[in-house]
């Protein structure tokens, strides 16, 4: 009784302490994301995770949870260093990844060989969840490029575009999209007018040259696979061209990860026809359920300085996916029996994730067995979302994201 009263009094305080530096925390969750370049994505993902963890008082399997955030800037090298840190940590349970696919792709072998439980709320490259050489340790609740390309292509064609031009970053992510997009076009007996590859840090001039070439090729739209940084570069380059030379852009969602809407603001966006891929939930344009309203309320309570309005969630994709993914993880832990050995717990959790039979409510949808044990014949076994969960979207005047066709 006394302890109950004490808990009642000290509960909120202890909760706060548990979120911060709790010397007695027993479970470490890692977030290895880009919180610099694609800062918005990293921050939103963190907010999503914390909101979901807050709902269980940062307590999992009776153990206090601590979220350790590592910023890898999108660098595979840094990411690998962070993964090594994770491996050295005896309390580490799982890692949430960020927006960038390349760090995951480059380190995929390392991740799986070292049994690092990787939860991916954003990075979209197809191969990430499809490790074939051994047990697959990566689970995704995000767009899967093997479907994203198809969605982008289909939607573009639905809009009436006939001659798409593929503009992709020269990374694994770009290449996986190239495959799916080409495949989607091929399935519709079409092919891209042309394909251009670009590297990170590409300059404005380079971007303009590429855009002019695309324009000269006779294409009627650009299917873009890029992150915010390069997305801005292309948007600026496009704006620098004559209006007649500007082609509509149908982009992968990578551009929403950073400060794209702040830099390419509403006024500039008037000069561009831009749509991008999103998952099927928006705090702004979707019909809000009591559940989603509760989640937003929790989030705005947790981050009162950052989240006041719904549009303040900068990269809603990150928040929504991370929140839903964390909920799936919590459900999996609740379904399993954790021991004291965190290495074993990783395996227990991995197995538990594949075995969630009970429906789990999320923002995007209510998940019915989101994951299954992976094998090459079941390439989507570790994908929580399906093609039906993907839609195209656009920015509103206040940088809010509106989902298309809703």
């Amino acid at each position: 009784m006394r302890s109950f009263l004490l808990g009642l009094l000290l509960g909120p305080c202890l909760m706060l302490v548990a979120q911060g530096v709790n010397a007695e925390d027993a479970i470490h969750l890692y977030l290895g994301a880009d919180q610099t370049g694609a800062r918005a994505s990293g921050i939103s993902i963190e907010q999503g995770i914390r909101t979901a963890l807050h709902e269980v008082n940062y307590t999992l399997a009776g153990k206090t949870v601590k979220l350790i955030v590592k910023d890898h800037h999108g660098s595979s090298v840094r990411s690998k260093r962070h993964l090594s840190d994770f491996l050295k940590d005896k309390k580490a349970l799982a890692v949430f990844s960020g927006l960038h696919s390349p760090p995951l792709l480059d380190n995929l072998e390392f991740i799986n060989e070292n049994n690092i439980l990787m939860l991916d709320p954003w990075a979209a490259a197809g191969p990430i969840t499809r490790y074939k050489k051994g047990p697959n340790w990566v689970f995704r609740l995000s767009i899967d490029d093997s479907k994203a390309g198809e969605v982008i292509v289909k939607n573009a064609l639905k809009e009436g575009f006939k001659k798409p031009y593929l503009l992709l970053e020269e990374t694994g992510w770009g290449r996986s999209n190239f495959k799916t997009m080409s495949k989607a076009l091929k399935n519709l007996s079409l092919s891209a007018v042309g394909t251009q590859w670009f590297n990170w840090n590409l300059g404005g001039t380079g971007a303009k040259i590429i855009l002019r070439e695309i324009q000269a090729s006779g294409a009627d739209c650009i299917l873009l696979v890029a992150n915010a940084h390069e997305g801005k570069t292309f948007a600026k380059a496009l704006l620098a061209l004559n209006k007649s030379e500007r082609l509509p852009i149908r982009s992968h969602w990578g551009i929403t990860g950073g400060d794209f809407p702040e830099v390419i603001n509403a006024k500039l966006r008037q000069g561009i026809d831009l749509k991008f891929l999103q998952t099927r939930f928006s705090f702004i344009s979707s019909k809000q359920s009591p559940f989603s309203q509760k989640v937003f309320k929790t989030a705005s309570n947790l981050f009162p300085d950052m989240i006041k309005l719904k549009k303040d969630i900068q990269a809603p994709t990150g928040f929504i996916h991370a929140y839903d993914l964390t909920r799936l993880m919590i459900a999996a832990i609740n379904n399993s029996q954790f021991g004291d050995n965190m290495l074993q717990n990783r395996t227990i959790l991995r197995n538990a994730l594949e075995q969630i039979k009970n429906p789990v409510t999320g923002l995007i949808k209510t998940y019915q067995q989101p994951f299954k044990p992976y094998n090459p014949q079941e390439p989507d076994a570790h994908e929580a979302l399906t093609i039906n969960d993907l839609v195209m979207a656009y920015y509103g005047n206040q940088n809010q994201i509106f989902l298309d066709n809703q």
Partner: protein, 625 residues
């Protein structure tokens, strides 16, 4: 010139003078020029070296900055950025890409490193990174480079530039430029031939070229690179150049100096020395009394300087004037000689006449002195004449007796004898015989006395005896004078005489007697009625002092000054010549002595004679002989 010990000839002296002047001048010029030129050379050289070194440092700076710029550009290439972010995925492309890269046309080993400095790819063999994370550049503000394997064959400069993505350093591009190639491109070897060149980074010497013997003295900071270029000029080269400069300077100056000396010597000889020698010859001839042919010389010789021509003409004028003056001087000299002879003669006469005057003054006394003995000698002789008559009568009677005896006339003999005895009694013959003896003796004394007086007078008045003789001052000077004057004094005053023994003194006794006499007479004249005259003589160590004092009327002070002036007298006209004291003074001076006077009116006067004794001059002058 012949007498003086080795004096320089004028021409030689002039040349030497010229030489020394030009040597000094030469040295002065040499020193001034040398120091000026030396400092100029040094400054120029230092400026030059400074410029050169600044050039080197600029070149080096540019070298590094340029390559760093290129490297930075490479670091901005998307493929590089991409590779640094996802090394695995881009391995192939980055290899191809980097293998093609050159640094300003030079194939240089390039290395791509991740953010932690670990090698992603290197076009060369992969070397382990010597860096820890903190040592790597965090920004691109200035070129980041370091010297690797300094002082080995593998020495190279490692240029590292960061790769930024989204303003975050995600990796590094590194170029390893062989130091030998840097040294070759920047011609450091050539520069270091003359200088020592040293690059220092954080106080550590990373490159040291050139002679190690020289200490580094100057530094140029390469601010863009954060290193220092230290250098030192090769002092040997400076010294050598200075030495050669000095030698050239000295040779040239010596050459010019030699020419100047030769020319000036020639010119000096022609224009200055020859005319001067000519004038000297004239002077010499003039001195020698030779005939100088002025006309002839005038025709032959031309002067270059009007001063010298004027000098000769003046000289000649002077010669004629001198000749004339010499002649007139000669005449003047002869007439002066004559005059002088006459003067001497006159002075002699004056002296003599003064003596005679003294004698004249003494004459009465002296005459009395002579008269007195003469009188009694005459009386004695008259008595003796009477005595002679008696003796002749007696002698006649003795003759008659002789005859009677021969006739044997006894009666008559007896009678005769009776007669003779009566005669004897009558004329008191015994007394007469005694008295005759006395008379003769007295007369002889009298004549001796006269003879003495005459001798004294003769001594006194002798003018011919100018030679000095050793004399007893007391006896032959003082006593003689006293004897001459005694008669003059004896009625007027008491004479006190204190004469102490004096060695013989080499002098002219007549002249000194004259002085004493003169002083005694003056003393006597100073006494009106009755007085006292004291005369003392004394030998004191090296001189003889004679003092004559009286208690007479004394001499007025105004007269004392003129006392020894010739013709000064206070006596009545006709009584004195006014020469007495003047002559006395001259005589004492001639003997090397002093005649001085002290007087008090109405109390008396003291004359003091001081005569120096020159013992060695006389053999006879034995003290107290």
């Amino acid at each position: 010139m012949l007498n003086s010990p080795r004096k320089l000839s004028f021409s030689l002296a002039f040349t030497l003078f010229l030489l020394s002047i030009s040597v000094m001048f030469g040295f002065a010029i040499c020193a001034v020029v040398f120091f000026q030129v030396d400092s100029l050379v040094r400054e120029n050289r230092q400026d030059f070296i400074q410029q050169e070194m600044q050039g080197i440092s600029r070149e080096f700076e540019n070298y590094i900055v340029l390559r760093n710029k290129i490297l930075s550009d490479y670091a901005n290439f998307p493929i590089i950025v991409q590779s640094v972010m996802q090394p695995k995925a881009h391995r192939g492309s980055i290899e191809d890409f980097m293998n093609e890269l050159t640094l300003l046309g030079d194939k240089v080993p390039l290395t791509l490193r991740d953010y932690a400095g670990d090698t992603i790819y290197s076009t060369n063999e992969v070397k382990p990174s010597p860096h820890s994370l903190t040592e790597l550049p965090k920004n691109n503000d200035r070129p980041w480079f370091e010297f690797i394997n300094s002082n080995t064959e593998d020495a190279h400069i490692r240029l590292v530039t960061p790769i930024f993505y989204q303003n975050i350093v995600e990796g590094f591009v590194q170029a390893d430029i062989a130091l030998s190639s840097v040294i070759r491109s920047l011609a450091f070897k050539e520069h270091s031939k003359q200088h020592r060149i040293q690059f220092m980074k954080n106080g550590e010497i990373v490159l040291d070229l050139g002679s190690q013997e020289q200490a580094i003295t100057n530094f140029i900071p390469l601010k863009k690179l954060g290193i220092k270029l230290g250098f030192n000029t090769n002092e040997k080269i400076l010294l050598n150049s200075r030495k050669s400069l000095l030698i050239k300077l000295v040779i040239w100056l010596a050459f010019i100096w030699l020419i100047i000396v030769l020319v000036s010597y020639k010119l000096g000889r022609l224009f200055l020395i020859t005319p001067l020698q000519r004038l000297r010859r004239f002077a010499n001839d003039l001195a020698e009394g030779k005939e100088i042919s002025l006309q002839d010389a005038n025709n032959q010789f031309k002067y270059q300087f009007h001063e010298l021509a004027e000098l000769e003409s003046h000289f000649k004028t002077m010669i004629s004037k001198v000749t004339r003056r010499e002649a007139s001087l000669h005449n003047a000299k002869e007439s002066l000689q004559e005059l002088n002879d006459r003067l001497v003669e006159h002075q002699q006469q004056l002296l003599h006449s003064e003596k005679l005057a003294s004698v004249g003054q003494l004459a009465a006394g002296v005459a009395h002195e002579i008269n007195n003995p003469t009188g009694f000698v005459m009386g004695n002789i008259e008595v003796l004449k009477d005595y002679k008559d008696d003796i002749v009568s007696l002698f006649d009677q003795y003759k008659e007796l002789e005859q009677l005896i021969s006739q044997n006339n006894t009666e008559k003999i007896n009678d005769k004898i009776q007669d003779i005895q009566t005669f004897k009694k009558k004329h008191d013959m015994d007394y007469m015989l005694n008295d005759m003896h006395d008379l003769i003796k007295d007369s002889l004394d009298g004549t001796h006395r006269i003879q003495g007086i005459v001798k004294d007078l003769k001594n006194f008045s002798r003018i011919d005896s100018i030679e000095k003789k050793p004399v007893d001052i007391n006896e032959e000077v003082i006593e003689t004078a006293l004897r001459l004057v005694s008669n003059e004094l004896k009625y007027k005053c008491t004479l006190k005489k204190t004469l102490k023994p004096i060695p013989k003194y080499l002098c002219n006794s007549g002249e000194l007697s004259q002085v004493i006499l003169n002083l005694l007479v003056n003393a006597s004249d100073a006494i009106q009625d009755k007085g006292e005259i004291t005369i003392t003589s004394e030998y004191m160590e090296d001189y003889i002092q004679i003092q004559i004092s009286d208690n007479g009327s004394g001499i007025k002070e105004k007269d004392l000054i003129r006392l020894f002036d010739p013709f000064f007298t206070t006596k009545e006209v006709g009584k004195g010549t006014g020469l007495g004291l003047s002559i006395s003074h001259n005589i004492i001076e001639k003997h090397g002595g002093i005649l001085s006077v002290a007087s008090q009116v109405n109390e008396g006067t003291v004359f003091t004679i001081m005569l120096p004794i020159e013992l060695e001059t006389s053999e006879d002058s034995m003290p107290f002989s």
